[in-house]
């Protein structure tokens, strides 16, 4: 579904991503694990055109999207749930959802979808008139995911959905990710919490200092000695 070909990204003089290639099959859950500063977020940002790769290409549904505008990508079913949630704290929950569907013109369908995400996240329904900034971290994360779903994504990119959340809520979030995937949405996920991520992943890549150092099926990496040592704390 999406394919990154030897991508290089620089921040000024710093070579943040040094030629990575990733492929995500339609319908799968793929995760990108690695330590802080490995370049995981930058990879997702490059996909969404928030950073411009200096070399390499990105193809999505067999089309080159390396330098496509972010809003064109959103229109074509790519969406990113950013690290740190970034919900619009000064808007209500419902307004956040409406903006998630900003580019959609099918207003009736959007209304139905709002109902649908409320079914998926009943907590959000209770708080629909509340300002997003007044909710807890876990609720904001749910809102960030719900907002992304409102754009009708085919490929959902998620940057650290478990960041700063209590273990029980992390479990909830990953249940939801599985559910979303079962509805046919392809998922590319970044996680520091390698264990939970690998458990639900069909395939995974391990990143270190801007490079892919290891890749394989989720279950295999879960049992890999190196991964265990470095990321699973075994």
């Amino acid at each position: 579904m999406i394919k990154l070909n030897d991508i290089h990204v620089y921040y000024g003089g710093i070579h943040a991503i040094k030629g990575i290639s990733i492929e995500v099959e339609k319908g799968s859950v793929v995760s990108l694990i690695g330590a802080n500063g490995a370049g995981k977020s930058t990879t997702l940002r490059a996909i969404m055109s928030l950073e411009k790769p200096k070399e390499g290409s990105i193809t999505y549904k067999d089309k080159d999207i390396t330098y496509e505008k972010t809003r064109e990508l959103v229109k074509n079913g790519l969406v990113l749930v950013p690290e740190g949630r970034h919900v619009f704290t000064n808007l209500t929950v419902e307004e956040n959802l409406i903006l998630g569907a900003y580019l959609r013109k099918d207003n009736d369908k959007v209304k139905e979808d709002i109902k649908w995400v409320y079914e998926l996240f009943p907590r959000l329904l209770e708080r629909k008139e509340q300002l997003a900034g007044t909710m807890s971290g876990g609720e904001q994360q749910m809102l960030a995911v719900a907002r992304a779903l409102m754009s009708k994504p085919e490929l959902l990119l998620m940057d650290e959905p478990s960041l700063g959340l209590a273990p029980l809520i992390v479990k909830d979030i990953f249940e939801i990710i599985k559910k979303i995937n079962s509805l046919g949405v392809t998922i590319l996920l970044i996680e520091q919490n390698a264990k939970v991520a690998l458990e639900i992943s069909d395939y995974a890549y391990v990143m270190e200092t801007g490079k892919i150092v290891l890749e394989g099926k989720g279950k295999e990496l879960l049992n890999d000695e190196n991964v265990k040592k470095a990321y699973l704390g075994a």
Binding site: M48, L50, T70, R71, V74, K75, V79, L80, P82, H86, V87, F88, T89, N90, L91, E95, I98, L99, G100, Y102, L103, G133, R147, S151
Partner: protein, 297 residues
């Protein structure tokens, strides 16, 4: 002071306050979205009065048509200023954009002196507004009734757009978080243009009414009202539309009242606005309706 004279001043205060409020909204909207003080805003307001003048005297437009043209052209000018002076500096330090704003202001003022000439011109006032109502012993020019009404209507329309429409939601989203807005597919540059356009159109509405009350047009006429409206926006809590309106009314009203009650201080009229600003900021540094924002990490 008799009750009648007080009412007379009250009506003047409301009218002046409305005008400050209309201009202040433009400052506050732009600040809300770009964290920039648009120093050219007072000059954009001035241009509206000259468009009216030339529209009526040179192109013989009916007054109402000239108003529409002035509002549209002024809106376009606001968008143009943003395109040329601010957008190229989007990723520059804030101080650079501020200097560019000051430059834009001087450029418009001085170009206007060259193009329009420095000699005062008379704002075209239609017959309709020459009427003065006499209620008991007080006399109220018709403009004093219309100015607050038009201000309130403009404000209702604006608040509807900002709070109820998708574009308004996008404006609020952009003001909070550029990047997240971009991730929703929002065209951030367009939303910023719309914000400048709307702020400038409100300034144009203010300009037309300003001309009716103070028909003496000079290219620097935007300076003082611009500065005062900026103060009004800060008093109310910059970034907050209702705050700008509150600040505008407060400033206009107190300016008129200080002269009314203490006529010997008339010469300090403008200084008073600044004193009020300092006094309010000493007690409420974020302005009257400004929120004390605590960043959650």
């Amino acid at each position: 002071m008799s009750y009648e004279i007080f009412l007379q001043h009250l009506s003047n205060g409301i009218a002046l306050g409305s005008l400050y409020a209309l201009i202040a909204i433009g400052y506050t909207m732009v600040y809300g979205i770009l964290r920039l003080i648009n120093f050219a805003h007072g000059d954009i307001f001035m241009i509206a009065t000259y468009v009216m003048f030339y529209g009526v005297t040179m192109f013989f437009m009916p007054w109402g048509v000239a108003v529409v043209v002035a509002i549209l052209l002024t809106g376009a000018l606001g968008i143009l200023v943003e395109r040329l002076a601010y957008r190229p500096l989007r990723n520059s330090p804030r101080i650079s954009v501020m200097i560019s704003a000051i430059g834009a202001s001087y450029l418009i003022e001085n170009l206007s002196i060259v193009i329009f000439g420095g000699r005062p011109k008379a704002f075209p006032i239609p017959e309709f507004f020459n009427h003065v109502s006499h209620i008991g012993s007080i006399s109220i020019p018709r403009a004093n009734f219309f100015i607050p009404v038009i201000t309130v209507v403009a404000l209702i329309v604006l608040l509807y757009i900002v709070n109820k429409t998708k574009t308004g939601m996008a404006m609020r989203a952009v003001s909070k978080d550029y990047e997240a807005a971009r991730l929703m597919g929002i065209n951030v540059d367009n939303i910023i243009s719309i914000t400048f356009g709307m702020g400038s159109m409100l300034a144009a509405v203010g300009g037309v009414m300003w001309g009716i009350k103070y028909p003496n047009l000079i290219p620097l006429l935007g300076l003082m009202p611009g500065l005062k409206a900026f103060i009004a926006a800060v008093i109310g809590g910059i970034g907050n539309i209702k705050g700008a309106v509150l600040g505008g009314f407060l400033l206009g009203m107190s300016e008129i009242m200080i002269i009314a009650f203490l006529p010997s201080l008339t010469g300090y009229r403008d200084a008073f606005a600044f004193i009020l600003l300092i006094a309010i900021l000493l007690f409420k540094p974020d302005g009257l309706l400004g929120k004390n924002v605590t960043e959650k990490v």
